[in-house]
Symmetry: C2
Subunit: 217 residues, 2 copies
Amino acid sequence: MIGIEGRKEGLRERKKQRTRDRISRAAFDLFDRQGYQETTIAQIADLADVSPRTVSSYFPAKEDLVFESFGPFEEKLSEALDGRPEGQDTMEALRQWIFEERKVWEAKEEQLARLHRLIDLDEHLSSIHRARIHRLERLIAEGIAQDLGLPPDHVEPRMAAAAAAAVFDLLDDEDRDAECSIAGVDRQFDLVDQALTFVSGGIQALRAAGKDRDPAR
Amino acid sequence: MIGIEGRKEGLRERKKQRTRDRISRAAFDLFDRQGYQETTIAQIADLADVSPRTVSSYFPAKEDLVFESFGPFEEKLSEALDGRPEGQDTMEALRQWIFEERKVWEAKEEQLARLHRLIDLDEHLSSIHRARIHRLERLIAEGIAQDLGLPPDHVEPRMAAAAAAAVFDLLDDEDRDAECSIAGVDRQFDLVDQALTFVSGGIQALRAAGKDRDPAR
DNA sequence: CTGCATAATTGCAGCGACTGCAACGCCGAT
DNA sequence: ATCGGCGTTGCAGTCGCTGCAATTATGCAG
């Protein structure tokens, strides 16, 4: 059945990928032109030259067409935080991770801008986007709680994580304003740095000040 | 045509309200028993003894059945922040508002707990919930930005607002663990106090430290 | 009490997203 | 060339939701 296990898994796979791309492309084309809600699966199928059933089988939910483009965000952050070097705190790991990912984001800059504009325009998409960011926030909260030796649902780690997770919104906003791309990238760098420093400072202060109060929770 | 304009608008209104309640009750009954997704509009209609069409006309979206129970949250917070006394900062206004609302929440404690458990169990509901909280966050961010004399999309106000908005999650968690209701209420008080103090401290520190750096954005 | 204007409720037809199932056709390993 | 399996498709059906038009209930004027 299988020749060499580790083979490129051949022509079939590639064709499948191309179909997936065609569908995705068609979708964004229509989304940009008519909006998300206004675009039907049937239209996408037409433009991609496949049957509607096929679209649904590649992308079980219409939203998947949009959010797949972000890539496996959560997993990546999770790995980055889990695999951080001994002694490095979560905030620093987060900062580093963002600067790593920056390269990827720059490459997809234009696409990301489109994406965010799309999401902003649709309430349903916005909701999902919020939920996704919240999941990142939870990861960060876990990390910080660990750093501070507190239970993961403790107050401060969660406040700090919320603040930290807000950098993603900041970055998203930069994407949205596509024109800023001149000095944009460097400003993003500054922004993140500033923001995360802010939060770290908060955590420090907290660590010192919060000791005399018995921990809630 | 109209007798006394300012009348209680009478019996019709009351009946309508009762119908709305019946539908809502039926819905929660089924949601609790079978889950949100698993419950169909038709079932709700049956149990409430109305036609499916009627359910949809009272609650245009299925989710509305769930989130209406929260009341006009956003509007209330917005008013509270807008109408805060001269000289009082946003954080303090928020704190006060939460302590005001606490009475209302206590009254609906059990219902809120059900609500949160329901929301946690369903991805779609969770998304919407996140979006709702995010809207509160934006209100807070605006307020803080005003306090600090910064544009509303500036870094620090948003970080601080994110942290502040996280108190809602804290409160929600308390609701979720319905058993804690013994010391629960007071602990909520403590929690909020602690949390908001934390954020306020952050803002103070920020105000002092951030002055020498030119404002990003 | 009667009739009437208005409002609430309903049924119906239809759209769009999505799913399970079964058939069909094409790729590629043998 | 053949055959097994996978990608693709069509079909039928479910569910949420909407617009429209008919029907029923309600409250008020006379």
